[in-house]
């Protein structure tokens, strides 16, 4: 039977095949069984908003399948995308633990399966299972690390070109093509979204891409981007 949004929904964490690959989900048997009791498996369509920044924390969202866009917004409506979260990540974690409002807005960009856990249940679960608590600490440290990287990229880069070059190089490493001479990246985001990731305007991103193509540093093949001149891109990133 076809499930909603074409997703193959995994009802139980105990039988989930993806579990061993994810940092958070790879819990000991006892912890997993009590997690199973407090979670709600839900499916969301593309473009659904899981939580909005400033909202009081309801609980955590474990992303089982799909991708989620995490962004912050200024008072005048300017958006900055911090991260595209992938399967296995836990969203709304720090707000749920500290009780402060959610600091980000989470919006799905694919149909997603998400396991939701209420805040009180989650805190009780963490108190009872030290292993899970350590996993959570690990996830938080990783997020902190990523936030520091973001600050470095935003606060210490001079130009939009430098930030774009850094982003492209980061994506090549993430795709496992970092060692290749001519790495390929599948562009899953629009120019608008890339602009929001590096804190500039859509027009600037389009102009920069055109410039990189003209200088034959990159080449576009459909939605795939081939980096032809990696050293030039690196030079641009460290300028």
């Amino acid at each position: 039977m076809l499930s909603p949004y074409g997703l193959d929904i995994v009802e139980s964490c105990l039988t989930c095949k993806l579990r061993s690959e994810q940092i958070f989900c790879d819990l000991p048997e006892a912890a997993l069984q009590s997690f199973e009791q407090i979670k709600y498996a839900t499916a969301y369509p593309k473009g659904a908003i899981l939580f909005v920044e400033g909202q009081a924390p309801r609980g955590i969202f474990v992303l089982c399948k799909g991708r989620v866009k995490l962004s912050i917004c200024s008072t005048d409506g300017k958006t900055l995308i911090l991260k595209i979260a992938e399967a296995g990540e836990v969203l709304g974690l720090s707000a749920s633990v500290s009780g402060k409002p959610y600091e980000l807005t989470a919006e799905t960009i694919d149909p997603c399966q998400i396991n939701f856990v209420k805040r009180d249940d989650f805190l009780r679960f963490l108190k009872e299972h030290a292993d899970a608590c350590l996993r959570v600490a690990e996830q938080l440290s990783e997020k902190y690390n990523a936030a520091c990287r973001e600050i470095r990229s935003l606060g210490l880069s001079h130009s939009a070109a430098e930030k774009l070059a850094k982003l492209l190089l980061e994506w090549t490493v993430k795709n496992g093509e970092g060692a290749k001479q001519e790495p390929r990246i599948k562009l899953a985001l629009t120019h608008e979204e890339i602009a929001q990731m590096i804190g500039t305007s859509r027009e600037t991103v389009t102009r920069l891409f055109a410039e990189l193509k003209k200088r034959q540093i990159i080449q576009a093949k459909g939605s795939t981007l081939v980096i032809r001149n990696k050293s030039a891109l690196k030079a641009l990133a460290t300028a």
């Binding site: 720090s94 707000a95 030290a130 350590l134 690990e138 990783e142 973001e150 880069s157």
Partner: protein, 219 residues
């Protein structure tokens, strides 16, 4: 009628931050009925007392500040366990606790003094994140995840620091779930701070708002 000051009188004052030890020499002025009417201080001497190093809380069990600090406020059993795994040292101003990108050795609890947290661009340009005060735990995230330290920490004052080895800390946290919870809470707060900073750096206007030209009103 005023009597002559008693020459052997010494007032001793002790500063709470344990780093200074003052001796004050002074005199009591008394009236005819021996009531103190005035106290004068003729000299004040700062004396380094080697005992002070021993006095700077060698053991967390007897630390006076423990109750005020969320991380240090552990159960008696846990604090004894923590006492065994920590290494105490007093470091001078400007000392580097750890540098960004280094492999994590462990976490540092700042007992006294302040530390500066900063990050650095590839070109060597620094960006200061914040100043950490007494009671804070530094390098916690990197120590837990095993990734490289994400910030550089430099001491702004002469400071007392308790270092805990990575393996010891992980074992300690596994044995004490309540402290593990406190660590998680602390990391969440750090993350909140970092996101605030991202907002400040990334969403602030690039250009300063132009000063409006104020035309003098036509008379």
């Amino acid at each position: 009628m005023v009597r002559h000051p008693t020459p052997d009188f010494v007032v001793c004052a002790w500063a709470r931050n344990c780093q200074k030890f003052w001796f004050c020499f002074g005199a009591l002025w008394r009236d005819s009925r021996c009531r103190v009417t005035r106290i004068t201080v003729s000299a004040r001497l700062k004396i380094y007392n080697p005992l002070m190093d021993r006095d700077t809380q060698p053991s967390c069990v007897h630390c006076a500040f423990r109750a005020e600090r969320p991380f240090c406020d552990m159960s008696p059993d846990a604090i004894r366990g923590f006492d065994e795994i920590k290494e105490l040292s007093v470091l001078g101003k400007g000392a580097l606790l750890f540098a960004e990108g280094a492999t994590p050795r462990g976490a540092y609890v700042l007992c006294e003094g302040r530390a500066k947290l900063s990050i650095c661009s590839e070109g060597g340009k620094p960006l200061m994140l914040r100043v950490a005060g007494p009671g804070e735990v530094l390098g916690l995230g990197a120590t837990l995840s095993g990734d490289a330290y994400e910030v550089t920490v430099e001491l702004l004052d002469k400071a007392q620091v308790a270092f805990v080895n990575r393996d010891d800390l992980l074992t300690f946290l596994r044995e004490n779930p309540t402290i593990c919870m406190e660590v998680v809470r602390r990391l969440s707060n750090d993350l909140h701070g970092a996101y605030e900073r991202v907002r400040a750096v990334g969403l602030s206007r690039a250009r300063r708002p132009r000063i409006r030209r104020v035309r003098p009103a036509a008379s």
